[in-house]
């Protein structure tokens, strides 16, 4: 057991990738074997991720090295044939938070996919691709190496594009997948160029060591260019306006469980943005300018996202526009904290809370927006339409789906006591200290979100029953079970916010704010 715990950083990435390869071998033995291997791969990786997160939260940051016996070992491992290759995984409280989000959401999405995709052909490709997407997200969150981050970013991009295009859908899904692939490749190339500039300048790829070196050597023009080349693609990958146009196409055309986990993949990009902004460059760069830049992206994302959602009548497209809007909240809290990072008093008074609120919203968003995608997918699964104008009265025949969707809708609209209210409350309060106007914009956006989901809920579940859907019944147990898991989490996160805040979010915010703790020399730790 200790060995498993010791190697959990390797297992979170290794297990899904191994299961993906194994699936290609065992696919010929039938659907049941395929489903068991798929779900076991996801569930075991989630267990490893949860145990790693627990270890980090109890004992402190974990550093795990591939290619050498310990992080403090000589640069050239004796068994590497003289090649100085090694990869370091570095998981602190911020990484632990993301691991938990990915672990819980991936299990729910995988459970749902087992039934929702059973009628689709090509499952021998769907399952391995989903596993690669999950493994890629874990890798992005756990790695402490910039090039390795790029590799995992590419794995998630390719797997995400293929999964989006999986159903083809008269070419619409294929087009959405292609858009995602092109945008991700552009972003990946930009990121790689930034990494190349830093490598050429400092001969380092390890984020902690690079952070310390930049802090010492100063932030020059090459660093400014590298920072822009890395931050902008990650902002695009998380769906920040005005680089968000891929988001409604991709999320709305992907199968529901893929949409739910693509959200987490986007959150991993947002985590990467936070990591690069706070831990790699931190106070070396002009934080007030970059923070203000992030705040502007946040306001645009919140407002344009929600106003674009209101006129939509394709339910998944509507939720996708809300995903853009919700990303704005996360960028807002982080941007405010980044903008005041140079002033310890402001960080203490409201910056830390703003970042914690942003991280809280990230966690909640992955759960409730994932839930909304799954519930919308359940309605489409039964009715065969995604057009809200053609739905109605489904609450009588799909009460479980209605209840789960209701929980998600209340949470995204920030209605107490759901989780969305708690995180928005922290954001409103902390951002108000920076600029009351920004806080007011966030509240107005929340009001518009409520209006939008009143429309969706009414159109799907209320009103007279349509004769065409009189025989429709609720979705199979695996599908509503997956939704129920996320619905319960949404309620619990809302009812006990302080447990999450004290145990998870404030340590995660501190891990990002305290650059020195991240960049301290290797050695000592695992």
């Amino acid at each position: 057991m200790n060995t498993v715990l010791l190697h959990s950083p390797a297992l979170i990435v290794g297990l899904p990738i191994f299961a993906a390869i194994l699936l290609m071998v065992v696919s010929r033995f039938g659907e049941k074997v395929r489903a068991v291997v798929f779900f076991a791969g996801i569930a075991l990786a989630s267990l490893a991720a949860i145990s790693l997160a627990e270890q980090v939260l109890s004992l402190g940051a974990v550093r795990y090295v591939f290619g050498a016996p310990s992080p403090a070992a000589p640069l050239v491992p004796p068994d590497s044939g003289g090649i100085p290759v090694r990869i370091l995984f570095h998981v602190d409280a911020a990484g632990a938070l993301m691991l938990l989000v990915a672990a819980l959401t991936s299990v729910a999405a995988a459970l749902y996919a087992l039934r929702s995709e059973e009628r689709a052909s090509g499952r021998e490709y769907f399952y391995p691709l989903f596993l690669l997407l999950v493994g890629g997200v874990y890798g992005m969150v756990a790695t402490g190496d910039l090039f390795n981050f790029f590799v995992f970013l590419e794995i998630t991009s390719l797997a995400g594009a293929a999964l989006t295009a999986y159903r083809i859908d008269h070419g619409l899904a294929a087009e959405a997948g292609l858009k995602y692939a092109v945008v991700s490749t552009l972003g990946g190339l930009s990121f790689l160029l930034g990494v190349g500039i830093l490598l050429a300048r400092h001969n380092l790829l390890n984020m902690a060591a690079l952070g310390a070196r930049i802090d010492l050597a100063g932030f020059g023009v090459p660093e400014a260019v590298a920072m822009a080349l890395m931050i902008v693609p990650l902002a695009m990958k998380c769906g920040a306006v005005p680089m968000h146009q891929w988001t409604p196409d991709t999320y709305s055309r992907a199968p529901a469980p893929v949409s739910a986990f693509l959200l987490v993949s986007s959150q991993a990009s947002l985590y990467g943005l936070f990591r690069i902004g706070f831990s790699l460059f931190g106070l070396s760069m002009d934080v007030s300018t970059v923070g203000l830049f992030v705040v502007i992206l946040a306001v645009l994302s919140m407002f344009i996202g929600v106003t674009m959602a209101i006129p939509q009548h394709d339910v998944k497209r509507l939720i996708s526009h809300h995903a853009v809007s919700q990303t704005g909240y996360m960028l807002l809290g982080a941007g405010v904290c980044l903008a005041v990072l140079g002033d310890p008093e402001k960080v203490r008074v409201f910056g830390r809370d703003a970042l914690a609120g942003s991280l809280f919203h990230m966690m909640n968003y992955a759960v409730y927006n994932g839930l909304l995608f799954l519930a919308a997918g359940a309605v489409i699964y039964r009715t065969g339409t995604r057009n809200l104008d053609r739905m109605g009265g489904l609450g009588r025949t799909m009460p479980l789906t209605m209840a789960c969707f209701g929980v998600g809708a209340l949470a995204i609209a920030g209605i107490p006591p759901m989780s969305g209210f708690a995180s928005k409350w922290v954001l409103y309060e902390s951002v108000f200290r920076y600029s009351p106007l920004l806080s007011m914009v966030a509240m107005v956006v929340s009001l518009l979100t409520l209006a939008s989901f009143v429309k969706v809920f009414q159109a799907m579940f209320l009103g007279p029953q349509r004769a065409a859907y009189a025989a429709v019944r609720d979705v199979p147990a695996a599908m509503w079970g997956a939704m129920a898991v996320l619905a319960v989490l949404t309620v619990l996160l809302g009812l006990f916010p302080d447990v999450v805040m004290q145990r998870l979010l404030l340590p995660a915010a501190d891990a990002l704010i305290n650059q020195t703790a991240y960049t301290m020399p290797l050695g000592g730790a695992q």
């Binding site: 945008v183 209101i310 309060e429 009414q458």
Partner: protein
């Protein structure tokens, strides 16, 4: 002294706090008052009659399925009032990959310039 359960549910921030459990108690009390008001109303108001017939703007409907406002029309007033904004923002969401790449380059250039000016 507060009970541990209540403490677990109390979110304390630098400037205030939020207690979902207190909110739930108040919400339950409000629901109780609403139910009490409903209980003291007329008992015969729900039995048959025109009050139960679906209608739209005072007109009888032949088919109850028509007794709904389509989702696309629900916020017509809002979108119509903001039609200038919506015309521009819809055009901005062209779905063209070239536009996505262009906006990526614009934002990249803006951040580079912002860094340079700063």
């Amino acid at each position: 002294m507060k009970a541990p359960f209540v403490m677990m549910a109390m979110l304390e921030t630098t400037h205030g706090g939020w207690s979902p459990l207190v909110w739930l108690v108040v919400f339950a009390a409000a629901c109780g008052v609403a139910l009490w008001i409903r209980a003291i109303g007329r008992g015969d108001s729900r039995t048959g009659g025109a009050s139960q017939k679906p209608f739209l703007s005072g007109n009888d409907l032949a088919d109850p399925e028509d007794a709904r406002v389509a989702a696309s029309n629900m916020y017509w007033g809002f979108t119509h009032a903001l039609r200038v904004y919506y015309r521009r923002v819809m055009a901005f969401h062209s779905g063209s990959l070239a536009d996505s790449i262009l906006w990526f380059l614009v934002v990249l250039a803006m951040l580079l310039l912002a860094g340079r000016v700063a």
